[in-house]
Symmetry: C2
Amino acid sequence: MSGGWPDSRFLALSGAACPVIQAPMAGAGGIDLAIGAIRGGAVGSLPCGMLTPDEVRAQVAAVRAAAEGPLNLNFFCHALPEDVDDGAWRALLAPYYAEYGVHEDDGSAMRLPFDARMCAAVEEVRPELVSFHFGLPAPALLERVRATGAKVLGNATTPDEAIWLAERGVDAVIAQGFEAGGHTGRFLAGRQEEALGLFALVPLVADAVTVPVIAAGGIADGRGIAAAFALGASAVQIGTAYLACPESGISDAHRAALAAGRSVFTNLFTGGLARGVPGRLMRDLGPIRPEVPPYPLAAAALAPLRKAAEAQGEFGFGPMWAGQAASLARSEPAEVLTRRLARDALAALARLGGGTTTS
Amino acid sequence: MSGGWPDSRFLALSGAACPVIQAPMAGAGGIDLAIGAIRGGAVGSLPCGMLTPDEVRAQVAAVRAAAEGPLNLNFFCHALPEDVDDGAWRALLAPYYAEYGVHEDDGSAMRLPFDARMCAAVEEVRPELVSFHFGLPAPALLERVRATGAKVLGNATTPDEAIWLAERGVDAVIAQGFEAGGHTGRFLAGRQEEALGLFALVPLVADAVTVPVIAAGGIADGRGIAAAFALGASAVQIGTAYLACPESGISDAHRAALAAGRSVFTNLFTGGLARGVPGRLMRDLGPIRPEVPPYPLAAAALAPLRKAAEAQGEFGFGPMWAGQAASLARSEPAEVLTRRLARDALAALARLGGGTTTS
């Protein structure tokens, strides 16, 4: 049943009522957002890249207890850099440590790549979908995930990455435009200066692979969903619009930053390139610094500083991720948002096909 | 009559049969492309920023003699920088002058802003549309253009620029996404790092102004046109797809570069930021250099070098402008391309509204 959608392949694959994935968003998403999205008819996502396997088990149980529908677990597949000296980065942050009286260096929630222990948790909790950022896990692990019956999604920022993922058997490709908030998932060689906007990326990816394409980045309302279908997508993944929901775990400063909506790429918060609205750290240092150690190591030195600064009301030492359509977002519960997105998209699609005149 | 298009405001405004403007593209566009586009039902454009008023008169006469339909004349509105020392730039180019045996410093075709003499030509030739890049001319000149009956289009890269243009009475706003080939038209303060993708830009501009919005950048087929309408546009401006037509005046090297399609922003060719595929100069120097004098002055020192290099078969000292959807372009006559764009867009729109299932 397509329910008025021009392409039902993602609906068939996921079992969702509407072709929307609530984006995982590590650090901001969680149980409540996923529950709201699933109740609204979308695929709900849990960002698992900063969780332990036991936390994943507990969060999935909490979602399952409250909502019936497709759940996506998202994991990272980065290679952990070894023997990195983050001395230059710590030296750059030293004045802030002094300003906020930071002495201890507590362990931050480390972003770890998907591994065998986490895979065991997936085998237990059996999500309907599993999505990976920064490539895919090793073939044996990927096979174990697939054997659970979960549909596997990979994230591509170029047609080449989409082909790489399709060759490894993903069930669908997320085409992430440079408009997307948070970390760009680029994992094959290539220059950030060549980053593709979603308008060009979706048709190029749709021409390059035969699996369904899920458009991500800069989509925050029904117009964007309809446009994604026009370009050849079978679904969309929406992040920033869900950030504005009361269920998201972001600061008031971050919430206010969404309305301003002037995001840029920065490497300051993790060492990886990610799109966010500048706060104090980005304004002071500039968004890109060579002193920052590679992903995900920059976060370790920042974590105690962020904690101390936020205790004093300064939220500019944590990331304020936002996509380029951030100012289209409204504050409404995730379930309400999801239903509005689907309704507005269907209305937009019907208008497009109607050949009517607006004037 | 909307002819199946979901929004007929641009058709009414322009008199075109389909909601497409063939982008002007100074240095590559011209009489033949404009004729083909008009014959196909689009608005044809003549890039006039590097022409004299008499050349404009002659080119308009040539188009009028061969095609009946709406013609757009495009002009630049930059402020000419004064007292600029381009010594550092010339020093950077000196090894290439030596390599190609360049001695003389001929005058290149200077990019001049729209002025009273050019306005007199517009008053004579009476184009249906006039579009401006880098802002608008002074109010008195703008009023003279408007008094000819021409519809006036301005180019915006942000919602703020769209509002600025609307407040000055433009009849439609071109929303130029960062995917667009050639020069970004950004004219109000703002950082290039904040450049917006078309997917976010079109709905933000459509919400900000009441005049029709023309989407530009990364659109090269019917899917893109349909998506632009979904996002709130009333028309599209398409450049790179027309570059691939036999009527365009680009080199074979440039033509081959379109298929590769990996474009980045560079300031090397004019001093202004523009998107193109790297050739030898961009590869040697890197795409962005601080030594380059401000727009449009960089072109003066490059012109004789480019001429000498091209005489020896090296085309990497001229710009190879391309938008991000360049690899979607095919080589076919402009009239054929225009009819295909319209046909494919209408088919895509009908599919979107049909609620049918593809599998």
